[in-house]
């Protein structure tokens, strides 16, 4: 296959294994996000694609060729580094064209590529400046331009926006989208920021402790997390997770109960699991001071302003549950009613932490 494929890849430094056994196919021309907490192995994966890290075991394919022993420079890969890695003694223009000049690309071609990228990224006024005279956002664009002029099949980005402020991130994401639209490279983008992952990715590979947790579209990663880790990692505030006991169509949570609809009852009874975990996102909990049907009771702990909404922290069945609300009018220690939306429930097998799936899917 074209694109990139990890086949039973293992990466270890001495006795420390970072990645045990990774299988992952990255399609040609897609924007794949490698997402995960720090230390999950996502950067290591990117560095293996770039050829900076040797593969301990297994095979890595790029464009259907095994590249285990192919040096970085021969992989036709462009990369944007987290710290941009601009050469401090060269001007922006020299930085952008350095690789092309040294690889003996002819002058007209260099000029054509430079002009095109300068126009796309609006770099004209900064070409003669050195990195120290550029702002963070400008440096980021120069680094991006340097990668773009290579016109490589593979475009690697290592947390490229993490040093930018929130506003610049939005515009930088737009520029990245434009670049991908123009050049259709296979983009592999490492981030720990789920907003970036959701907005930029066509597919997300969620990693944890060197293992691939889930590989799917942002919609599915959000709506149908395959395990507890995915459910908690994606979304802010994180998904509420509560131990539950299934008893005759009901979820017993603490000393309260929630009645499942028939679809869920069938689905839960069909599963092999014996112990369950109940998951629900804060935005899928309805809260009210007056009684709600099929609701649990909880005590308000405190309210956090999230800008557009308020996160209400609730003490319920010995665990802390977060619910989103448009009102901030919740008093501490007030007992309120918490109703999970039946269509947005996630049920996990406690033993494996995997989702038991969804009814009717």
């Amino acid at each position: 296959m074209k694109g990139i494929e990890f086949k039973n890849v293992k990466k270890a430094y001495g006795d420390t294994t970072i990645i045990e056994n990774l299988n992952l196919k990255i399609h040609e021309g897609e924007r794949l996000i490698l997402l995960g907490p720090s230390g999950c192995g996502k950067s290591t994966m990117l560095r293996m694609i770039a050829g900076f890290e040797k593969i301990t075991d297994g095979d890595l394919y790029m464009n259907a060729n095994m590249v285990n022993e192919v040096p970085s420079g021969k992989r036709n890969v462009a990369m944007v580094f987290q710290n941009y890695a601009l050469y401090p003694h060269m001007t922006a223009e020299e930085n952008i064209t350095y690789g092309l000049r040294r690889n003996k690309v002819n002058k007209q071609e260099i000029k054509r590529r430079l002009d095109s990228v300068v126009e796309t990224l609006l770099l004209e006024p900064y070409l003669k400046r050195k990195p120290k005279d550029l702002s963070g956002g400008q440096r980021q664009r120069v680094a991006l331009a340097r990668a773009v002029v290579k016109e490589s099949n593979f475009f690697l980005l290592d947390e490229p926006l993490s040093n930018l402020d929130a506003q610049l991130r939005v515009s930088a994401r737009k520029e990245l989208m434009n670049i991908h639209h123009t050049f259709k490279q296979t983009m592999v983008y490492v981030t720990h920021d789920q907003i970036e992952a959701m907005t930029f990715g066509e597919r997300i590979a969620l990693m944890n402790k060197g293992e691939l947790q889930m590989l799917d579209t942002p919609e599915n990663v959000y709506n149908r997390p395959v395990n507890i880790f995915t459910a908690k990692f994606i979304g802010s505030p994180p998904t509420n997770i509560m131990d539950m006991v299934y008893d005759n169509g009901k979820a017993i949570i603490g000393n309260q109960s929630f009645t499942f609809d028939t679809k869920w009852v069938k689905h839960i009874e069909a599963s092999n699991a014996t112990d369950f975990v109940f998951g629900i996102r804060p935005e899928h909990l309805q809260i009210s001071k007056s009684p709600l049907e099929n609701a649990l009771k909880g005590k308000v702990k405190y309210v956090e302003n999230q800008g557009d909404q308020y996160a209400v922290f609730i003490d319920m069945a010995n665990s802390e549950v977060i619910a989103m609300s448009n009102s901030k009018d919740w008093n501490t220690d007030e007992v309120i009613f918490v109703q999970p939306m039946a269509d947005h429930i996630h049920i996990f097998d406690k033993a494996t932490t995997n989702s038991i799936g969804y009814p009717g899917v």
Binding site: A50, F52, K74, R102
Partner: protein, 274 residues
């Protein structure tokens, strides 16, 4: 304000005194080198000669092949400096940017060699050079000195401060290591290289014991050996000529300092800010 101006005056007095103490010997040497011999002893503290004369310099150039001696010193110092820099640079690059078996151990051995006193290696080096027929040759002086672990240590430290990603970024663009050294590393560590180089040069320029062991004939002498001819027991003490040799010895290092001073001072202030 009063205390401030008092402190200012105090500090300036201290600075001026320090500068005077540092500069006085040079002025003294310069003055003495233009004095006739009697005046050296009769008129010691008067820096300005009463009857200035060029005789000391003329006599010096008549008695010794001073041009040849200066060239010898310059050749030794230049070749030693260039070789030390080159080897230190390449070795430091390997230590910083490559992973190889036994790297830490080899580095440890290299650095440990800094602590071996010169007197330990002096005789073996002399014997080896003699057996190679390099006794009384400036190449015999040069050869054992062409590498120096201090250079590796200093350049290694500076290279480490360059982000690794710069090298990775070049590697991914298919740039060779030699090109990376020339295009990226060299410009970034140039100030440190300059100051290390000047330090090596001046050390070699002033070196006495090793050349005195190796060099027998006056034609292959270096400037410090020429100086010792006028202030040693065998040569008798002719202070005014000795001062003339000192002044000649000083010229080239001083010129070097004037040319490279912005790098030298730059290095010191840069390391001060960090």
């Amino acid at each position: 304000m009063r205390t401030n101006s008092f402190l200012g005056i105090l500090w300036h007095t201290i600075f001026i005194l320090t500068v005077f103490i540092l500069i006085f010997p040079i002025i003294f040497a310069l003055g003495t080198s233009f004095k006739p011999l009697q005046e050296v002893y009769n008129n010691v503290l008067n820096i300005i000669p009463i009857a200035p004369t060029f005789d000391n310099y003329i006599g010096l150039f008549e008695r010794l092949p001073m041009i040849q001696i200066t060239m010898n010193t310059f050749t030794i110092a230049t070749v030693v400096t260039i070789m030390k820099m080159l080897i230190s640079f390449l070795a430091a690059y390997a230590f910083v940017y490559f992973d190889f078996k036994g790297k830490k151990f080899i580095y440890f051995i290299f650095i440990a060699s800094i602590f071996i006193p010169f007197t330990v290696t002096m005789i073996p080096n002399y014997l080896i050079m003699s057996s190679w027929g390099l006794a009384d040759s400036i190449f015999g002086v040069i050869l054992p000195q062409i590498s120096d672990a201090i250079g590796i240590l200093l350049i290694n430290q500076t290279m480490r401060s360059i982000p690794f990603s710069l090298i990775e970024s070049a590697r991914i663009d298919n740039i060779s290591h030699s090109r990376i050294m020339i295009d990226i590393i060299l410009p970034l560590i140039r100030p440190q290289l300059m100051s290390t180089g000047i330090w090596f040069f001046v050390n070699s320029w002033n070196e006495f014991v090793w050349p005195s062991l190796m060099l027998k004939s006056v034609d292959s002498y270096t400037l410090p050996l020429a100086l010792q001819m006028f202030i040693s027991a065998e040569g008798g003490t002719d202070l005014s000529v000795a001062m003339a040799v000192s002044i000649v010895t000083m010229i080239i290092p001083l010129l070097l300092y004037l040319v490279f001073q912005k790098y030298i001072i730059g290095t010191f202030t840069a390391s001060g800010i960090k």
